[in-house]
Amino acid sequence: MGKIITVYGPLLLQAMGHTLLLALYGLFFACIIGMIVGIMSVLRSRICRVIAGIFVNLIRGVPMIVLAYFVYFGVPYLFNTILNMGGVTLSALQAGTICLSLNCGAYMAEIIRAGIESVPAGQMEAARSLGLPYWRSMQRVVLPQAIRTMIPSIINQFIITLKDTSILSVIGFPELVNTAKNVVSKTFMSFQTWAIVGIMYLIVILILQQAAKAVERRLKNGKRKV
């Protein structure tokens, strides 16, 4: 155990940094995708709702490992070999970010849709009856109430996405799991290495959960001030 920490500790920490970076990129774009698709799925426009529904079901119906292979190997192959356009390459980080954003984005869209739908219809009706336009009513009345119910689920989704970065070891991004595999293949100390890796994930996620609890508490107490 000591040898792994002293010799490979810095490497594993750096890999954890890569994991966090990938998660951060993924979450950033996932929030944007989730917001757009989530709002699309509550609009009156049938086309918007159908597009949002197809996206969410497609992503949720495909395992992320398949999505990862498809984006990293399949998409460049499509452009370079099938369409003969040439020169299209994706780095593992780019492909990983795309996968995480799409995957997490689909789940975020569902969280946001459910959050908006949890606000009683009367709130929107009251705002509209005063003459406020649809988007204004959304912005001032519906979304502020929806966000409060969404926050715990969103933080939960953040944690899931952070763990899902490990799946992207299959496309060779040097995140924690991929790096640990290399360490094991050099040292053959699989018990020690995987124990350390597990503890590293655990620590980061426990910190996130504590932060989540703090946010939830603030929302409960701060309700009056919002």
């Binding site: 009251a126 009856s129 009345v141």
Partner: protein, 248 residues
């Protein structure tokens, strides 16, 4: 409040409304005079609320014409938000914005729609709160209020837009009995001030005392229409007689 702009601020002709293949409103025509109080009574499911909600297009009518203050609201492409500013609406379940305190509930629309400066919107809000007797609740949140207080705030919120017309959709139906009176009192004062009002209600006493005209609806049709005296003391239609025998 400025009065006398239109002789009939509300004009409805041959209104129909279908939900899917179910017809819930059948050929209703109604002209409401300036300052008139019209009460609509009838059994539940008779289309009273739907009719009211068609007037500010919270429901889209299927056929027919609605004219509010000379603007045909059933015409496609009409600026419905502008029409809605002139029509206050009070809901059965209050629908106060639960993420805002009372003052912000009252000030949201006037400030956001720039019909008043923040300063004058605040003054109007405080004046309206005083009018409904809730000045001390100015910074309370909706979930800290009783049902009766919520509904009075909801009335004040609608009045802050200085509407020409007020629509009441069963405003006392969700209230505990001891709170019905305080809400009806506010509505009576409003009627006495000359507000043009349509009130969907189960409060027969209120309809009898305050209404200029009472409509009895059943099955999406206005079956009988008249003064409170005619409706309550000399009902003609057998369904109205039956209805009154059950509720009075």
């Amino acid at each position: 409040m400025e009065r006398g702009k239109y002789e009939f601020p509300i004009r409805v002709s041959h209104l129909y409304k279908d939900f899917g293949d179910q017809r819930v409103i059948r050929d209703i025509s109604l002209n409401v005079r300036e300052g008139e109080v019209v009460c609509i009574i009838g059994p539940s499911g008779s289309g009273k609320s739907t009719f009211l909600r068609c007037l500010n297009r919270l429901e889209e009518s299927t056929e027919g014409k609605i004219v509010i203050n000379d603007v045909e609201v059933t015409r496609p492409g009409v600026d419905i938000n502008n029409v809605r500013r002139q029509i206050g609406m009070v809901f059965q379940h209050f629908n106060l914005f639960s993420n805002m305190n009372v003052l912000r509930n009252l000030m949201l629309a006037p400030v956001d729609l720039k019909v008043a400066s923040v300063q004058s919107a605040r003054q109007t809000a405080l004046a309206m709160l005083e009018r409904v007797g809730l000045s001390e609740k100015v910074s309370a949140f909706p979930d800290e209020l009783s049902g009766g207080q919520k509904q009075r705030v909801a009335i004040a919120r609608a009045l802050c837009m200085k509407p020409d017309i007020m629509l009441f959709d069963e405003p006392t139906s969700a209230l505990d009995p001891e709170m019905v009176g305080e809400v009806l009192e506010v509505m009576k004062e409003l009627a006495a001030d000359g507000m043009t009002m349509i009130v969907v209600t189960h409060e027969m006493g209120f309809a009898r005392e305050v209404a200029d005209r009472v409509l009895f609806m059943d099955g999406g049709v206005v079956l009988e229409e008249g003064t409170p005296e005619e409706i309550f003391s000399h009902p003609q239609h057998p369904r109205l007689c039956d209805f009154l025998s059950k509720v009075l």
